[in-house]
C-alpha cells in the first residue's frame, strides 16, 4: 500500500514533533500558565489566580521597559555586526578557494569555547585597569591611561562591550553558514555577470545576496533569536550592571524567577517576550525566507 505524500510527511515529522511537545511545549504551557498566578517561590505556599495582574505589572515596570529596549539594542548590534563581519569573511574564504580551508577551521575556534569561559575571558580582556585590551591600547599610544575607557564600568557603553564576546563567539556561525551557501551559488551566473562587466558591489547586491536569501534568512533569524535571549555571557561579564545597563530581558526574567522569587511575574514577562519574538520572527520568516512555499 502506498501512503500519500502528506501522510508520509506527517510521519517523518512525528518523532521530532513528539519530542518537542513533551520536552518543550509541555514545560512551556506550564510556564505561561504561571503568568496568571501569584506564586510563592517555595512549593507548598499559596498559588492564587490573579488574571492579568502580572502582565499589567510587567508592562508598568520601569525595569521591564528598560530591559526591553536594551534587548532590542543588543540584538541589533550583535546581528548587524555579525552579519557584516561574517559575510565579509565568508566572501574572502570563497574568493580564496580551497587554500583557505585551514583558516576556515581556525576561524571556528571561538565556537568551541563555552560561553561561561568566553564571558570570563572577555571580562578579563576588558576590565578597567587589569584588562589586556586597555593595556595594549595604552602601549600603542591610543590611550593615556588604562582607566580611560571603562568598557564594563561605564553604563553608556557597557551594553556594547558585553556584546563583543557574543559577536566573537558566533560570527563563525554566520560565516560557516554563508560560506556553505556561497558554495551553492552557480559559478556560471557569476562568470556571466563578470563578462558583462559587473563590478563587485553590483555582483554582491544584485546576485550573491539574492541567491543566498534562504541561507541568510536562517543565519539572521537564528542569530537574532539567540542574541535576544543571550544570557550566560552577559551574566558572567557584568551580572546585569553597572547600574542595570546590561540587564536584558532574559536576565531580568531569570532574576525575577530565581533571585527575586516571583515566578508569576517572571512568567508574564517571559510570555510577553515570547509573543513579541514570535511576531517579529514570523514577519521576518515570511518576508525573506518563505519556507515550504513555492519557489
Amino acid at each position: 500500500m502506498r501512503i500519500t505524500d502528506r501522510r508520509f510527511a506527517l510521519l517523518m515529522m512525528a518523532p521530532a514533533a513528539a519530542f518537542l511537545a513533551a520536552f518543550v511545549l509541555w514545560p512551556l504551557i506550564r510556564f505561561i500558565s504561571n503568568g496568571f498566578f501569584e506564586i510563592s517561590p517555595i512549593a507548598g505556599g499559596p498559588r492564587d489566580f490573579v488574571g492579568f495582574d502580572n502582565f499589567v505589572a510587567a508592562f508598568q515596570s520601569a525595569a521591564f521597559q528598560g530591559a526591553s529596549l536594551r534587548t532590542i539594542v543588543y540584538t541589533l548590534v550583535v546581528v548587524v555586526l555579525e552579519f557584516t563581519l561574517g559575510l565579509g569573511v565568508a566572501l574572502i574564504f570563497a574568493s580564496l578557494g580551497a587554500r583557505s580551508a585551514v583558516f576556515r577551521t581556525v576561524f571556528m575556534y571561538p565556537l568551541m569555547i563555552a560561553p561561561v569561559v568566553a564571558g570570563l575571558l572577555w571580562r578579563f580582556l576588558l576590565i578597567d585597569n587589569f584588562g589586556i585590551i586597555n593595556e595594549l591600547l595604552r602601549q600603542a599610544g591610543i590611550l593615556q591611561s588604562t582607566s580611560q575607557i571603562g568598557w564594563l564600568s561605564d553604563p553608556n557603553i557597557a551594553l556594547f562591550s558585553v556584546a563583543l564576546p557574543d559577536i566573537w563567539l558566533t560570527t563563525s556561525f554566520i560565516t560557516l553558514v554563508l560560506f556553505a551557501g556561497l558554495q551553492n551559488v552557480p559559478g556560471d551566473i557569476i562568470e556571466a555577470a563578470k563578462l558583462d562587466g559587473a563590478r563587485f558591489p553590483t555582483l554582491l547586491f544584485r546576485i550573491i545576496i539574492p541567491l543566498l536569501r534562504p541561507v541568510i534568512a536562517v543565519a539572521l533569524i537564528v542569530r537574532g533569536i539567540d542574541a535576544a535571549r543571550a544570557f550566560d555571557i552577559i551574566l558572567i561579564q557584568t551580572n546585569g550592571g553597572p547600574q542595570e545597563s546590561t540587564t536584558t530581558l532574559s536576565l531580568l526574567i531569570y532574576r525575577t524567577m530565581t533571585r527575586y522569587g516571583d515566578p508569576g511575574l517572571a512568567s508574564a514577562m517571559g510570555t510577553i517576550y515570547l509573543i513579541a519574538m514570535l511576531v517579529i520572527a514570523t514577519v521576518a520568516i515570511f518576508a525573506i525566507w518563505r519556507p515550504g512555499s513555492d519557489r
Binding site: R30, S33, P41, S153, G241, P242, Q243, Y260
Partner: protein
C-alpha cells in the same frame, strides 16, 4: 485549550521525592568554599558511621538557582544544602526547623550575630558551619620601615601603626599614596574603594553606629537615608583620592589582586585570605592582619557565614540532622582546610596563639564587637543588593556624586521592592 491549561495546572503538583540514593548516603549541595570546609568532616563521618556524604560542588550563583528551582518544584535531589547567610530568609519556607540542635551550649559558643541570623520566623533554619568577616590587611614591610615611621610621625603627630579608626585610616591611606619610582605616575595607593560589591560599605554603616542596616524587615521601615548611612557613604567615598581608578568595577577578586601586586598599602578584605597568599605574590611574607577599623560606633564587620539547612522535602531528615550535629561537634576540623574558617567561638579561640593564624584573633574581635550586625533578614535582600545597593555605590564612586540624593533615591527604590 482550556482543558490543556487545566491539565497543566493540576500537573504542577506531580513529581517524586528524593532521587533513589540508598539510605546510607547523604547528598549535600555546596559552594567551592563549603566543599573545602566540609570534606574532612564528611570523611570522618563516613569512617565513624558508614554513611557516605556526597558533596556536590556548584558555582556560587548557580547554587542559589539550583536550590530555588528545586524548592520551588517541591521535590529535591539533595538532603542538605549549604546556604549563604543572605539566602536564609528566602529559603526559610522550604527548609526544616533545626531548633533541637540549638541548645544553650551551642548558642553560647556562636557569635551573637549568627544566632540571630539563623533564626527566621521564630525557627532556627540553619546551623552555621563557618563564618567569615572582613578584617584589615596591611603591608608589614611598609609599616615597619623606619623612614616611613619617621615621616609619618612627623607629618601626623602620632606613630605609624595599623589604623584602628576612620581618621587614622584616612591619614595612613593618604600617607602611602605616592609615586615610588619617580616616573610621575602614582603607583602605590593607600587603600582601595570597592564599587562593585556592597558588603564593605555595609560594614562601614555599622561602624558609623547604625543599628538598623538599610531596613528593618519587621516594620518595613527603610533607614538607608538616615544620618549614619550618609556618614558611612561620605567616609567610604572620601577614600577615592587614595585608591586606584576604576572603583565602579572593583570587586573582591580585583581588590585582592591589586593588593597582591603590591599596589595597595592596606586593604579591607575577608579574613580567610590571610592563609591563602599565593607564593608568587609580590607582598608574600609582608602581610599583617588587624581587626576591622572602627568608626564612631566602634569596630564593625559584616558576618559572612554559611549555614547547613535541611529541605522539608527530603526523605532523610533524621540522617541529615545527625550529620549537621556531627559537623557542629567537629567544627575544628575545618581549621586546617584551605579556607580555614570555623563557626564556633571556641574553635576560633583554639588558634589564638598559633603562628600563621593571626587572622583568627582579628576575625574574632571584629565579630565579637557589639557594633557588628548581620545583614537584614528579608527574602528580597538579593534583589535590593542587585538593583539598588550596588548601582547606588557605583554612582557614588563617580566624581561629583551627591551622596544624600543617592541614598534618598535608594530609599524610594527599596520601598518599592518590599512594598
Amino acid at each position: 485549550m482550556l482543558s490543556v491549561t487545566a491539565l497543566a495546572l493540576t500537573g504542577c503538583g506531580a513529581g517524586g521525592g528524593t532521587t533513589g540514593a540508598s539510605d546510607d548516603e547523604l547528598t549535600v549541595l555546596v559552594e567551592g568554599g563549603g566543599l573545602a570546609e566540609l570534606q574532612p568532616i564528611a570523611d570522618l563521618y563516613k569512617e565513624e558511621t558508614g554513611t557516605s556524604v556526597k558533596l556536590v560542588e556548584l558555582p556560587y550563583d548557580g547554587l542559589y538557582d539550583r536550590i530555588q528551582t528545586e524548592l520551588g518544584s517541591g521535590s529535591v535531589s539533595f538532603d542538605i544544602a549549604a546556604l549563604d547567610a543572605i539566602w536564609l530568609s528566602a529559603f526559610a519556607d522550604g527548609v526544616q526547623p533545626l531548633d533541637d540542635l540549638f541548645t544553650d551550649d551551642v548558642k553560647s559558643d556562636l557569635f551573637p550575630g549568627l544566632v540571630t541570623e539563623a533564626q527566621v520566623g521564630g525557627n532556627y533554619v540553619g546551623m552555621p558551619i563557618f563564618t567569615n568577616s572582613e578584617i584589615l590587611y596591611y603591608r608589614t614591610d611598609l609599616f615597619n620601615d623606619e623612614t616611613n615611621k619617621a615621616d609619618f610621625e612627623a607629618e601626623y603627630g602620632y606613630p605609624l601603626a595599623p589604623p584602628s579608626t576612620w581618621e587614622q585610616y584616612t591619614d595612613v591611606a593618604k600617607f602611602f599614596t605616592r609615586d615610588t619610582d619617580g616616573d610621575g605616575q602614582v603607583d602605590l595607593y593607600g587603600t582601595d574603594v570597592k564599587g562593585a560589591v556592597e558588603t564593605e560599605w555595609l560594614a562601614t554603616v555599622s561602624q558609623a553606629g547604625e543599628t538598623t542596616m538599610v531596613l528593618d524587615p519587621a516594620s518595613g521601615e527603610v533607614t538607608i537615608d538616615d544620618a549614619d548611612h550618609l556618614k558611612a557613604l561620605d567616609f567610604y567615598t572620601s577614600l577615592l583620592p587614595y585608591a586606584p581608578a576604576g572603583a565602579a568595577q572593583l570587586d573582591w577578586a580585583g581588590s585582592q589582586n591589586l593588593f597582591y601586586q603590591g599596589k595597595l598599602a592596606m586593604m579591607r578584605f575577608w579574613g580567610h585570605a590571610y592563609t591563602q597568599t599565593p607564593d608568587d605574590a609580590a607582598v608574600k611574607g609582608n602581610i599583617g592582619a588587624a581587626p576591622m577599623i572602627a568608626g564612631p560606633g566602634g569596630i564593625a564587620g559584616v558576618p559572612g557565614a554559611w549555614y547547613l539547612s535541611v529541605p522539608t522535602a527530603t526523605t532523610k531528615s533524621e540522617a541529615a540532622k545527625a550529620f549537621i550535629a556531627f559537623a557542629y561537634e567537629n567544627n575544628e576540623l575545618s581549621v586546617d582546610t584551605s579556607l580555614g574558617l570555623v563557626s564556633r567561638i571556641s574553635a576560633f579561640e583554639s588558634q589564638a596563639e598559633v603562628e600563621g593564624k593571626e587572622n583568627y584573633p582579628a576575625i574574632l574581635e571584629t565579630l565579637n564587637s557589639p557594633a557588628t550586625y548581620a545583614r537584614p533578614a528579608t527574602p528580597q535582600w538579593q534583589e535590593i543588593v542587585n538593583t539598588v545597593l550596588t548601582p547606588m555605590l557605583q554612582k557614588a564612586v563617580e566624581p561629583g556624586a551627591d551622596n544624600a540624593a543617592l541614598l534618598k533615591e535608594a530609599k524610594a527604590q527599596i520601598e518599592a521592592i518590599i512594598k
